[in-house]
Symmetry: D2
Subunit: 424 residues, 4 copies
């Protein structure tokens, strides 16, 4: 069987292909000469499967999309405290190349504007790092995020440096406020080289998925970044990634995203997937016209809007059955706060008449710390009510099954329990 997602993505490309509004970026000669026609889309799932369509092998420069990853790497390498001392987290409501420094601190307001990105680049590999060493660190990280060795297009670097007055202006201003310590020329060179890394939509989808999945690269399985780092990066992308239209974007599309002036657009859906598109023509805010439209369609069709997660109509409690001297509570699905509360509420509501109570965890697909704690606390309270408790937990979702009072819950796997359920 062929998986239908590729054809689904191809259909979407066909729907937007004819849109030819917008224009390629004109302030960097190398980009101004770019072919405006390529069109591609990719998505990468939490299982590391990548679906793509269109010009999905075409390489283009990552440009400002790199800001998300360099911010992540800075948080990872030097810690949130130091990063927050250098750059803020508020939306600027201004264009990408505005100065936008905070009143008192003179920090750039966020890492998604150029001033912020230049300041963040300087945090990598220490103040005394050479540009080369700094870029090497970034390129290594970017490559691990993408799962393949990425390269810098030095022609683009050269082209951008030739027209870098605005960025040099920002860098000198940052230096004048002591936000960066290195030379302005080095700061801009480091930043421009970071922007000149070549990627495909498939790379970006995987890199985005790594952010969405708490830092674990879903293809290679490597834990590249800490979950808290990824959480913060996505929050900042949500509020400031799409420049001066962040509010509208989050209301209509609802996917944290970051665009690049070469035409790339990368999005993340926390816990679920990474997305990417490529189409060089940009709107007046500097975002890819067809890319943004593809995001809109995907969000609508696939229900990816961050604010539209529909409640699970099912319960984490699959069944509570009593046969003879035993009551079996079967749990299912994910056990975060919501699932754990399902269990607690059901256990409290059900009049448990048997001495023995068994909780069957085999259909639980996932559990987090709060869910585990609540399930164990529920078990302790059931025992306090006078019952004998046990769990069926072959995957050790409950860890060492130790309760708050220091005792450990018994494990069981009785066939009788099985049958009780299946006969229904």
């Amino acid at each position: 069987m062929e998986i239908p997602l590729k054809s689904y993505l191809t259909e979407i490309l066909d729907r937007v292909r004819d849109r030819d509004s917008g224009a390629v970026a004109d302030y960097i000669p190398e980009l101004a000469a770019a072919d405006p026609t390529p069109l591609a889309v990719a998505l990468c799932t939490s299982a590391g499967r990548v679906y793509s369509a269109g010009d999905d092998e075409r390489e283009f420069s990552i440009q400002s999309i790199s800001k998300s990853f360099t911010y992540a790497i800075a948080l990872q390498e030097v810690g949130v405290e130091k990063v927050l001392g250098t750059v803020g987290m508020e939306p600027s409501g201004e264009a990408f190349n505005e100065l936008s420094l905070e009143g008192g601190t003179h920090r750039p307001v966020n890492p998604m504007i150029n001033a912020g990105a230049i300041a963040v680049n300087q945090l990598i590999n220490g103040e005394d790092s050479s540009v080369d060493a700094r870029v090497t660190v970034l390129l290594d990280y970017f490559s691990r995020l993408a799962g393949r060795e990425l390269h810098i297009d030095e022609r683009i670097t050269g082209s951008e440096l030739a027209t870098a007055d605005r960025n040099l202006s920002l860098a000198h201003m940052l230096r004048s406020y002591g936000v960066i310590a290195g030379s302005a020329a080095d700061a801009v060179t480091g930043y421009v080289r970071q922007c000149s890394v070549l990627v495909t939509v498939r790379d970006l989808a995987v890199m985005g998925a790594t952010l969405a999945l708490g830092g674990r690269q879903p293809v290679t399985g490597e834990q590249v970044l800490d979950p808290r780092v990824c959480r913060q990066v996505q929050a900042v992308m949500a509020s400031a990634g799409m420049y001066d239209g962040a509010g509208r974007w989050m209301a209509s599309v609802g996917i944290p995203a970051k665009s690049g002036v070469a035409g790339g657009l990368m999005g993340t859906l926390p816990g679920q997937l990474g997305l990417a598109t490529f189409s060089p023509r940009l709107d007046s805010s500097g975002n890819s016209v067809r890319g943004a439209e593809i995001f809109r369609i995907l969000s609508e069709d696939m229900g990816l809007h961050l604010m539209s997660a529909l409640p699970s109509t099912g319960s984490a409690v699959r069944s509570i059955r009593t046969r003879g001297p035993v009551t079996v509570i079967r749990l299912q699905g994910g056990l975060g706060f919501t699932g754990a509360e399902d269990f607690l509420a059901a256990a409290a509501a059900h009049e448990l008449t048997t001495v023995r109570v068994v909780v069957d965890m085999r259909r639980v697909s996932d559990i987090d710390a709060f869910g585990r704690e609540m399930v164990l606390e529920g078990l302790r309270r059931i025992r306090t009510d006078g019952h004998r408790i046990a769990v069926i937990d072959p995957d050790h979702l409950l860890g060492d099954r130790r309760l708050g009072d220091g005792t450990t819950v018994e494990e069981t796997d009785e066939v009788a329990v099985e049958v009780a359920d299946e006969v229904k």
Copy 2:
């Protein structure tokens, strides 16, 4: 068994009770005289269960939290087009009582600042509505959202009207730009009365949960608002609900929220729950000091950060088993995009050797339109590959089981299939 959530919430209150920084709002006499000590927290689950602790029966005026609901009601009643013609969706980066009109259109930049809220209030019940009729509509909606009849504290209304110069200034400015048509005095009176509705943290938790759950009030079961309305309201809360600290709030707490000057704070976690706190002392941005701290703790402890949803480590494909002439694919958990893709990927990867293939939906807890479409398309492709397909779907999660080619998938419930699984 007693559910341990109440004691968990009580513990949290104890952790923040001693914090006495901040001050009660002083610009409204009635609020300035308020007791600063009350402290309460509540949360409401998707199943409509409400947990609370502290002064959870204490009523206080809803104040600016009403902005979220009035915005929702306006979207519901007059439609997104007309609402967007009146008020924008971008963060202002400014204090709540700033003018913050957009350059060209003179629309208030968002409905969470006073100017925007006054303009939105005027959209309710038609331009020609009396203030009384307008407030009656709002109060009716608020009451349905809370699940009980709410009331207005006329003393607070009076106290606010006596010191309403700033709001009158905003209203006159809106009138001068044609954003509102009614008299400035009426506009402010309507807005102030909307702010004077009395609520408890339990009310706010339920009202917030209704937004989080796509508009379905989880206690009464009433579909009060459309899902798209709720999506938009939460997106705007995320970007503008906490005034000039929206970026930091979303990065550190990650829960769309709205605060009121009387000390209330209301949050929503899409698809999961509503939360609310009450503590009158405010920080310099006008947000409840202890309330914000409780949100921070809840987010951290319970893993509620919108950007930190960890990927499900389980698969929607519970098992693929072959016994004799039949292969049974058992699905589980929620089937949105992620789960559906799990199924498609597994079906594609598995070498199906039997003529008969049965997909067992009984452990699927939830499904959405895209999930349904993808499962049916997978079934069609399996059949195209030469298999006979059937589903076990007693809850009709697949609807009428009609495929893209117009045929219908057979339903089955063979015991043989059951046994194949359980023996394992």
Copy 3:
């Protein structure tokens, strides 16, 4: 002989009459209906002679030109300290109806924007004054400045009040910051009535001349305002009177000026004259198109630019002659700093060989305090050098002729001295 100035002014009107760009103010119904064609100019000299041409008897509402006079009256009545506590003196660089409050103090930045003018209006006749009493004070002052009894056009007042949302917005904002204490409605009514006073260009030229001449109304001779008040009003007019184009105006025209939305324009040249024009069509900044052009021509033709006063090529020392035992120093023209220094320098440079030295003041047209002090000090030093000194000062320009050492200079009027000069 007929004075040629009227024909000169008539010629200027002919040069600009065909300019029909701009439009009458449209936001006040009564003004929107105004005839755009009237055209008039007037100027009033320090001697109180008024020259005018065109529709110089046509009355129109004074509008914002009143701001200059009400500011002057406030300074006169309540003192500079209290006025500066209410309104600043900096240019705003913004349109007339912008809020433009200072950051810390919330004072309107200057009295020429509406917010500032509303605040200043409230200073007249005490906080507790009724609007009627306040307007009566203003109207009385305006009438004394114009030299005839002026009246308010109540139709214009009514028309403006009907569309006063923007001003009401400003007034409520000022109230919310405690800048004004009275009701917002009263503040706006007082301000609008002040703006509805009817004047002709001849009135405005005389009123402006009074400011230019240190507060002495040149026609009636009444000292209506203090010199320091007039100095401050003109300085503020120079920096903020022409709204957002103050810098360009002062560079190209160089005459402190204030415009009104009904088409009036009033200017002052310190120490010399008042000017006024009337032509209702306004440019996008709200200034009369033809009025501004007339000012430009007058400034150019008549050398009225404040920054272009050419140095006097003559000296205040007309001659130093010795005949027999006496040296006569004849002074002429005005004796401010420059003339006095001429005298001192000449006296120091000349080798005085006679015992007697006489200073002839009869050709001195004017003297100020510094000039008097320097002349007397010069006389004292000449005497200290061993000479006998006397003055010819029939007009008592040197006052009581008392020197710094307490002695008094002798006065003389010898014919011999006369002859010494005239024979040459």
Copy 4:
């Protein structure tokens, strides 16, 4: 006789000497190390006499005061059109080192902020000029303005260049908008060298006097700049020379002025004189504390406020006398608009009964084009009324005495006329 002005100035220094608030500029190492105690004042009259007191031989770097002169030189060399295409003329209300570019054009708003000054520096000597050649042009002009050969302190240049990030930021931003074409480093170097020219207060007073006197250096007599250039420079100094306090400065001091961060302060009084002070401690706006105080005292004592010119109480018409067949009208003082109008009004008011009318110009100290035209037109009209006219004009103030009708007025010098007057 010793002229008492030096002792007067010395007294003023004594009055402010003890003021020790403020601090020397600390962002340029060479300035931070400066001795804060020097104190000096100088003024230069229209006759080129310079009075000074205190450390009047002490050299210091001209710093931002150079902005006025470089602006003047640019206007002189490339013309007002081109200069206005590069830099505006509006006050910025911001600190000296703010970017302050105009919205649409991206021109710096005025030449007194650093961005504007850098842009103006680039206009000197052509776009392709080397920095050395450009600075040579400026230094030559500055030297002619001061009347002695000035020099650059290269240590200060070096010190400023070492901390020039802010200026480099501005220069790169200007380049990015195409406002300047040369390299950012060259632009800043040129500007910094211009700021490092060493001057004394006596130099600055003379240079300022040259601006005040229409471009004629009063000591050397050289016409260095055009009158219109000087007019524009002084207008811009008035509105933007004292940074964010321009309005207050013009209201309280009333002398167009420009300050430098090394402690210099230079002012001009159009038509009268140039002033300068030196005291290194600066207030928070970057203006010399004691320097500003000296300006305040001088303005007050000497009546130098631009807006406080008192009207001449004398008339330009000294007398109108009739003896026998001739009427003699004797004029005196300056004959600008005001004096000419005096003559016309007096001639019109006086019933001329004699055939012969003689106008005696010998006591007229000055005349401008408008004055000359009006006197001649008055003469023509007197003749038209049937009189025989003649003038006594040994200094040819009336030029070729040609009237509007092409005829020429007769000149006379009759003794009889003399006697008629002097007998009185």
